[in-house]
Amino acid sequence: MLITAALVWELWVNSALPRQKFGFHFFVTSVWDPIMDQFGALPFIYGTMVTSAVALFIAVPLGIGAAIFLAELAPPRISDTLQFFIDLLAAVPSVIYGLLGVFVVVPVMRTVIYPALNKPFGYLPIFKGPSYGVGFMTAGIVLAIMVIPYIISVSREVLLSVPRDQREAALALGSTRWESTWKVVVPFAKTGIMGSIFLALARALGETMAVTMVIGNTPKIAASLFAPGYTIAAVIANEFTEATGDLYLQSLIELGLVLFLLTFLLNGLARVLILVTTQKGSEAGG
């Protein structure tokens, strides 16, 4: 087991050699030209960050709201049933999300959401420009749907681990149910909820298929959320089999390394945060 993890690490270090040629420039230049052997990763990093940001912007309020409902309000039977469906939702393969993204979300973006946002807010740079249906926004929405189950499941666990005393004390002091939830239970579980968000972020960053299918695959940095873009995972999926020349291939592998390290860090952080909260709960409760 240890060997597998070590191997992943070792291999990455060995195969990522465009660092020598481009050094730090790899991350700050935005030219991606296989023919001229010029590789800059900025558009992909930008795309990955923007889509994940959009996804979290949508998924976090929705996911935490749902988790509060499941943990605080719903009777156990309903809560368990809904949790069962949410677990199933987490099991849906990502190509299926991509499929629905291409045939459902993209047309809806083009015909409904884009005109609705572009007319009143078109002067803002993020909503400017024409829409092709594919782009950062679409990818973000699909990603949001994909990460919501993770946020719900983990946040629910964390909220359930908040000791009863806390709740009862708040209610006894005369607060309403919402006040006890929002001002006592949620702050208590705050670190754990942050952990669930980091976990979701790690998922969103590494998600490949669904994003590849709806992002538009254009290595450009655009301010508009409706413009087509590219993400790290998507460029690897699209160009890896076609990569000619060592430098091209190794540039892609270096992108993979970046992605790996990023998710590695986020996962580690998330785990620590979740652990801290659940331990706090059992200490206070015990």
């Binding site: 087991m1 240890l2 597998t4 993890a5 191997l7 992943v8 291999l11 195969s15 309020p61 929705l62 996911g63 935490i64 709201g65 749902a66 509060i68 409902f69 605080e72 309000l73 719903a74 809904l82 069962f84 469906f85 949410i86 677990d87 939702l89 099991a91 849906v92 393969p93 990502s94 190509v95 299926i96 999300y97 991509g98 499929l99 629905l100 291409v102 045939f103 459902v104 749907i145 919501i148 719900i152 309403t176 149910r177 919402w178 929002w182 960053l205 590494g206 490949t208 590849t212 299918m213 995972a233 690897i236 999926a237 890896f240 089999t241 992605l259 998710t263 996962n267 580690g268 785990r271």
Partner: protein, 284 residues
Amino acid sequence: MSNGRLRWRKFVSNFMLAMTGVCAFVSVLVLFFILGYLLFNGGTSINWDFFTKLPKPVGEAGGGMANAIVGSGKILLLASLMGVPIGFLGGVYLAEFSGKGMASVVRYAADLLNGVPSIVIGIFAYSLVVLPFKHFSAYAGAFALGMMMIPITLRSTEEFLKSVPRMLREGAMALGASRWKTIATVIVPAAYRGIMTAILLALARVAGETAPLLFTAFGNRFESHGWSQPTATLPVMIYTYAVSPYDDWHRQAWAAGLVLLALVLIINILARTILSRGIAVPRS
């Protein structure tokens, strides 16, 4: 005055709690929407040919995905052969033999491996298996998927073995069974249900994986004989068909999506009922 404030607070409370309910139902609705939409679109284009025929060239109607279904089966079989024993034995080791420090390192490594994006696993398999053989193959695909199965199987095997009560262990030891015999004949059978569930869930998770297969198993328009050739799989077929410009292919992508989703959800539900029916581990 204070009465009005109280009413306002109660209103806020009810309103916000109702909103959280709305959030929960919206999230669950998505699942039914996905299912319904796939049933509607895939159901109309699924037929017997889909399961028995090979893909037809562009422009000809009809044809199916027999090769992809067989290919998915082959790769999943091989992946389980690789991933399950390693994960299972690793789990046994962690739960029964290892010291504390070692165990936490392995556990942490497994958790991280579990969080690695699937496409990165794909690159790993590519450079380890595809490059030396200079060939996309079913082996490479299975290697990638097997690697993804290891951490899931390992962690849950460990969990379930650990929840076997001490009494059973001590009972077997007291009867003079060796350590290995205790594990093989008493502890593992006691945790059997839980471990089965874990393996099924791992299988369901990798069955839908596309990204690591793109440049390991690659895909194939024809039947692939043997294990060392590029092999078509359902998820990759869905991807290529969905981004293609042909209407007929789109319909087939829907059909394949329906088959894949049905497969994954059935395995999931099955696994969960195994776990919930009867108690996974006898309680002391």
